[in-house]
Amino acid sequence: METSVQPAVGKIGNRSGWGKTQILVLLVVVTNVFGNIFLSRGMHQVGRIVSASPFDYLRAFANPWTILGICVLIVWILSDLALLSRADLSFVLPVTASGYVLVAFFGHFLLHDHISWARWTGILLITGGVVLAEETPTRTTTGPPEHLLPGHKR
């Protein structure tokens, strides 16, 4: 079993691996944004639900927007898992935050939402975070986290 003690920076995040990782990042961002937009639209049509019982939520599944949103979010979960198999969580998190920028532009240019100065600043900060994270290698560990493997004693 390979260890993750010495991060092999530069050896892993090679050019050929970056292409597929980049495609997965794009897929994760787009499915997350549209899944949530559809789901939100559905939930607003369904109305208020606050309950500890999952059965009360079944009512929401009768709405086509909710169903569409859930289907898109299933694609999101699977592409997110595929991405996490290839890249660091601390890389994936800031990079996929570009979804917030996408939501803001979508709202501004298609739905003509007003975007305040605070929100423009937020968009700028997130974009800065995405750019900074993009400059780091996609993966800095080799094997899986050792202490999470069965039989490991701390």
């Binding site: 495609i23 699977l78 898992l81 595929a82 290839r86 660091d88 968009i123 800065g128 975070g129």
Partner: protein, 120 residues
């Protein structure tokens, strides 16, 4: 009620992502994006206790988000995840053993601040 849901989303979201990352690293890299490879990944997931536990945490996060979306707007749901950016980066470093240097800390902090500003 809103803030309780926000806290539930942040904690379960963080747990879910860390468990999923650990599970997927243990399962092995998805080498290509062909349907056959992705189907193989899905089959393996059902025998992967870490990812299944991650799904459990995600389910809690999902139902809390549904509740929140039904009583608040999307913009209110967004800052719920702001806290988890820093928490997840911390756990990625100390539990997942990732090489988190200033660029990633700065990236996570900028995103967390940005997400908070978006709610205004």
């Amino acid at each position: 009620m809103k803030w309780l849901l926000v806290a539930i989303i942040a904690v379960s979201n963080t747990l879910g992502d860390v468990l999923n990352t650990a599970g997927m690293k243990r399962q092995g890299e998805v080498e290509d994006l062909r349907p056959r490879t992705l189907l193989g990944m899905v089959k393996k997931i059902f025998h992967n206790p870490l990812v299944l536990a991650g799904f459990g945490a995600m389910a809690v996060s999902f139902f809390a988000l549904l509740s929140l979306l039904s009583i608040a707007t999307v913009s209110f749901a967004v800052p719920a995840t702001a806290i988890s950016y820093l928490l997840e980066t911390l756990l990625a470093k100390y539990i997942l053993g990732e090489d988190v240097r200033w660029r990633r800390w700065a990236a996570a902090s900028l995103v967390a601040c940005g997400v908070v500003l978006l709610s205004f």
